[in-house]
C-alpha cells in the first residue's frame, strides 16, 4: 500500500506530482466518479450512459495525446473539460434531439465557463459525487445491483474488474448493470440529495452498500488479491466522501472508523511468502499507523449521537484489538461483551455468532467455545464456511482431540477459500 492511496488525496492541482509529471495513483478511476456524476447531473440521470461514454472518450483522448504532448497542468480538469465537450458534440450530433436537449446544451455550455479548480467548482463536484452515491445506493435497488452500480459509476471499475472481484463472469455483471440502470429509470430515481424525511433510510442503504464492498474486499476468499484490496480502499474512499459531507451522521463516522481500523491491518495479514498470519501473530509494526489514527478520529466523532449502530459496535471491536498493548493482552471479556451487543443489534447474523464463539473460547475456555460452535453448525449460511471448520478444528486441537481436528481441517480445505488460507490449513494438518 502506498502513501498516495492511504492519504485523503487532495484534488485539483495536486493530480500530478509537479516535478516528476507522474499521475496520482488511481487518478483515472477516481476521476470517473466525479466527471460522470457531474455530467449526469447536468444531462439528467436518463442520460447516464452518455455521461459514461463521454468520460470514456476523454480518457481515450488522454491516452492518445498525453504520451506525445505531456501531462497537462491539471489532468483532472483536462479530463472533465474534454468529457464535457464530448457530451456537447454527441448531443448536437444526435438525430433524436428531444425537447429538453436545448436546455441541456445551454446548461452544458454554461458549465464550461466555470473555472475548474475554483473552490466553488470543486465544491460542486464533490456535491455531484455525493448525489451519485445516493442514486447508485437507492434502497429500491437490489443490493447486488447497488454494489455493481457504485463500483462502476462512482468507483470507475470496469465490468471485468467487478466480475473478477466477485468471481462472476463479465456477462453476468454487465447484465446486472443493465438491469440496475433500467430500475433507476423506471423508478425515476433522481440525483436529488435525500430530504430530511428519507435521509436515514437512504443513508442506511448507502452505508450498507459501502460496508458490503469493504467486506467483500477484506474477506480473503479466492480471487485476485489486487482487485480485492482495491475494493477495500474504494469503500474507504466512499466512506470518507460521506463523512466529509454536510449530511455525515455519527453512524457514517462509525462506518469509516471500522473500515479504517480494519484496513490498517491489511499489510500485516500476509507474510512475505504470501502466507496468512492470524491476528494474534501479526507484526504490529506493519499496521498502518495513519489509518489507525484516521480510524480513531472517526471513532471519536461517532460517539456524538444517541444511537448505537452495528458500525459503532464493529468499530469498538476493531478499536479494542488495536488498543491492546500487545496481541497477547487483548481484552477478550470486553470483546465478548461487544459481540453480545452486536448480536442484539444486527439480529442473529451467523458470521457474527461465529466470531462471538471465538471470544467465548478466549474468555471461558475452548470447551465453551466449542459448545457455541456446535449450535451454529446447522446454519445453512455457515455449513460450507471454511472459517467455522477451521475454528472448530482449532478448538478441538486445544482440547486434545487431534484426530477430530484433522477431520475438520480437511473438510475446511474442501470449502471456498483463498490460496493463503488453504496453505494455512495444510500447515495445521501437517502439524498434527
Amino acid at each position: 500500500m502506498t502513501a498516495a492511496e492511504l492519504s485523503n488525496a487532495p484534488r485539483g492541482d495536486a493530480d500530478r506530482d509537479g516535478d516528476t509529471g507522474v499521475l496520482l495513483e488511481h487518478l483515472f478511476r477516481h476521476q470517473v466518479g466525479r466527471v460522470v456524476a457531474h455530467l449526469a447531473r447536468v444531462l439528467g440521470p436518463a442520460r447516464l450512459d452518455l455521461a459514461e461514454e463521454s468520460m470514456q472518450e476523454a480518457m481515450l483522448r488522454a491516452l492518445q495525446t498525453w504520451p506525445y504532448q505531456g501531462i497537462p497542468e491539471n489532468p483532472g480538469a483536462w479530463l472533465l473539460r474534454v468529457a464535457h465537450n464530448s457530451a456537447i458534440d454527441s448531443l448536437r450530433r444526435s438525430r433524436f434531439l428531444d425537447q429538453n436537449s436545448g436546455a441541456v446544451l445551454a446548461e452544458l455550455t454554461r458549465a464550461t465557463s466555470i473555472a475548474p479548480g475554483a473552490p466553488s467548482f470543486e465544491e460542486q463536484l464533490r456535491d455531484d459525487e455525493l448525489r451519485m452515491i445516493f442514486m447508485c445506493c437507492h434502497p429500491e435497488i437490489a443490493r447486488d445491483a447497488r454494489v455493481a452500480l457504485s463500483l462502476k459509476i462512482v468507483g470507475g471499475f470496469s465490468v471485468r474488474e467487478i466480475a473478477s472481484a466477485f468471481l462472476a463472469d463479465d456477462a453476468a455483471i454487465a447484465q446486472r448493470l443493465v438491469r440496475a440502470k433500467r430500475q433507476l429509470r423506471e423508478r425515476r430515481v433522481t440525483l436529488d440529495l435525500p430530504g430530511a424525511a428519507e435521509l436515514d433510510q437512504r443513508l442506511d442503504s448507502a452505508l450498507e452498500t459501502i460496508y458490503f464492498i469493504f467486506n467483500e474486499g477484506y474477506a480473503a476468499h479466492e480471487g485476485e488479491d489486487l482487485i480485492r484490496r482495491d475494493l477495500c480502499f474504494e469503500a474507504l474512499r466512499l466512506g470518507r466522501l460521506l463523512a466529509a459531507s454536510s449530511i455525515a451522521t455519527p453512524r457514517v463516522h462509525a462506518l469509516v472508523a471500522v473500515i479504517a481500523l480494519q484496513a490498517a491491518r491489511l499489510p500485516a495479514r500476509i507474510d512475505e511468502a504470501g502466507d496468512l498470519i492470524l491476528l494474534e501473530d501479526q507484526d504490529r509494526a506493519r499496521w498502518d499507523q495513519r489509518l489507525i489514527a484516521e480510524g480513531f478520529h472517526h471513532f471519536d466523532l461517532s460517539i456524538a449521537g444517541e444511537q448505537v449502530s452495528e458500525y459503532h459496535v464493529q468499530a469498538a471491536i476493531a478499536a479494542t484489538y488495536t488498543q491492546a498493548a500487545n496481541l497477547r493482552s487483548i481484552d477478550w471479556p470486553a470483546i465478548l461483551d461487544l459481540y453480545d451487543q452486536l448480536l442484539a443489534i444486527s439480529g442473529a447474523s451467523p458470521v457474527v455468532a461465529l466470531n462471538r464463539a471465538v471470544a467465548v473460547a478466549k474468555v471461558h475456555g475452548p470447551a465453551e467455545g466449542l459448545a457455541e460452535i456446535e449450535t451454529l453448525r446447522g446454519d445453512p449460511q455457515l455449513r460450507d464456511y471454511y472459517l467455522l471448520l477451521a475454528v472448530r478444528g482449532h478448538l478441538l486441537q486445544e482440547l486434545g482431540r487431534p484426530e477430530e481436528a484433522a477431520v475438520c481441517w480437511s473438510a475446511a480445505l474442501e470449502c471456498r477459500c483463498s490460496e493463503p488460507e488453504r496453505r494455512f490449513l495444510r500447515r495445521k494438518l501437517a502439524g498434527i
Binding site: 509529471g21 507522474v22 499521475l23 488511481h26 487518478l27 483515472f28 478511476r29 476521476q31 470517473v32 470514456q56 480518457m59 481515450l60 488522454a62 491516452l63 492518445q64 495525446t65 498525453w66 504520451p67 506525445y68 504532448q69 505531456g70 501531462i71 470507475g156 471499475f157 470496469s158 471485468r160 474488474e161 482495491d230
Partner: protein
C-alpha cells in the same frame, strides 16, 4: 547517429475494452518509454482516417482514407536514434504499444 521512424498501428476500438485503471497504467508506460534518451520526438496523428491522394487518368484527386482495408490505422510516430537496425529493433521491442498493436520500423536517410 542514424534515425529511425516508428509508425504505430493499432485498432482504436481495442482501447475501449480497457478499464480506467488499465488506461492509466498504459498511458504511464507510453510516457515512460517516450522519455528515454534516444527518443528524438513523437507525434500523435489526428484520430480521423485522413485523405489519400492519387492520380487517376492523369488527374490528381483526394479521397477519404484509410489507405488500406485493415482495421489497424497509424496512430502515431516516433523518431529514435540507433546505430543500426539491430539496435533500433532492440530499443523498440519493449515499447508498450506492442501490447495493443504493431510497430513499423524504418530507417531515415540522413
Amino acid at each position: 547517429m542514424p534515425q529511425y521512424m516508428l509508425a504505430l498501428y493499432d485498432d482504436p476500438s481495442g482501447w475501449k475494452k480497457l478499464s480506467p485503471e488499465e488506461m492509466q497504467k498504459s498511458l504511464e508506460k507510453y510516457m515512460a518509454w517516450g522519455k528515454r534518451p534516444y527518443v528524438v520526438t513523437g507525434k500523435r496523428l489526428a484520430a480521423d482516417l485522413g485523405r489519400v491522394l492519387r492520380s487517376t487518368n492523369g488527374k490528381p484527386r483526394a479521397t477519404d482514407g484509410p489507405y488500406s482495408e485493415t482495421k489497424e490505422v497509424m496512430g502515431g510516430i516516433y523518431l529514435i536514434e540507433a546505430k543500426d537496425y539491430d539496435e533500433a529493433v532492440e530499443r523498440t521491442l519493449d515499447h508498450p504499444h506492442l501490447e495493443h498493436g504493431t510497430i513499423e520500423l524504418r530507417q531515415l536517410y540522413s
